[in-house]
Symmetry: C2
């Protein structure tokens, strides 16, 4: 049983294996040659699909955002009016905590420096969605006298910040208690539960 000259769907296999490796060893130990080795393919084969390591990370980022958007979708689909903002924020945090390495790739400076148009568009679409939910909530009386731009900055900072605090070691509280999820929800409610 010798391998065929052509892999068949090397691009997808690379992406899948890359995401796998990512969550096992982190982005620092991700290498094109290592992936090639894993997939029993020559060391330069990946370059046919991702001319540059940054291109691979970019494609991973696209999958990550798709994933995040999907999580947001289902969270919003099951949430009635007043709870939508909370559901959206908790969905982000939950996704980021379960996909910490993907979230890290999104924040990788090199990725955004050479971001594809697709990725950039997905990100602004996601931001617009958050803004839409904010204005919807404001129309229903929540913090209706507040500057929407300030609310947007606050919401993004708080969600991303909470996700990062929960996944990056520097912020890890030495006295971590078991009821972390409750604390997260309570923290979010400090923002959501008032000002209407």
């Amino acid at each position: 049983m010798n391998l065929p000259y052509h892999h068949g769907n090397l691009r997808e296999a690379l992406l899948a294996r890359a995401i796998e490796t990512l969550s096992e060893e982190g982005v620092e130990h991700l290498s094109l040659r290592g992936l090639a080795r894993d997939l029993k393919v020559s060391h330069a084969a990946p370059l046919r699909h991702f001319p540059t390591k940054t291109d691979l990370l970019n494609a991973i980022a696209v999958e990550g955002v798709e994933n995040l958007v999907a999580a947001t979708d289902t969270a919003l689909a099951h949430s009635p009016g007043p709870a939508r903002l909370r559901a959206m924020m908790l969905a982000y945090i939950d996704w980021a905590m379960h996909n910490a390495e993907l979230h890290r790739v999104l924040r990788n400076p090199d990725v955004m420096r050479h971001a594809s148009d697709t990725l950039a568009e997905m990100l602004t679409a996601f931001a617009n969605r958050q803004k839409a939910e904010i204005s919807r909530a404001q129309e229903q009386g929540w913090r209706s006298d507040e500057d929407p731009a300030v609310l947007f900055l606050h919401l993004v900072s708080l969600t991303a910040g909470t996700a990062i605090v929960m996944t990056e070691d520097i912020y890890r509280d030495p006295v971590t208690t078991p009821e972390t999820q409750d604390k997260i929800a309570a923290s979010i409610d400090l923002f959501l539960g008032q000002g209407n």
Copy 2:
């Protein structure tokens, strides 16, 4: 004019040049051999002072935290009672925006994975300081019925989150307006200006 065999204070020179390079080109383009080249020293000389690249990043992180603590000190020194929390949070954000690459090094997973005791102690000391300020504010009536742990999580998430949102490209708002500083302060006040 031939160079002396011994550099004299290579360790300090390495740290200084590393931090310089860091803010110019980012952590991805920082290399021990590159530093050695810059300082006209053999490629393996840096290893005498930092046996591993991670050790160098660790030392940089220590300098970064010292820097951050100093910024917090002066901010708190000039702030009367009620404004202390605000001053502390804005000092963090301001420092992080002016030292984005240092802030990134702090968040580097490898750095914390092999953090020196010194670094770990500095970080918990800093966290304890934030907690002390929170309880001081609570004693003076601010959100006095709230769980201190929740307030701490919220404060850290919001400050770190805002700093990251302002410095990482993924979060960069396509419709950025000039009055960013005002928005930051207003966002912080959404947390601080209520609940007492």
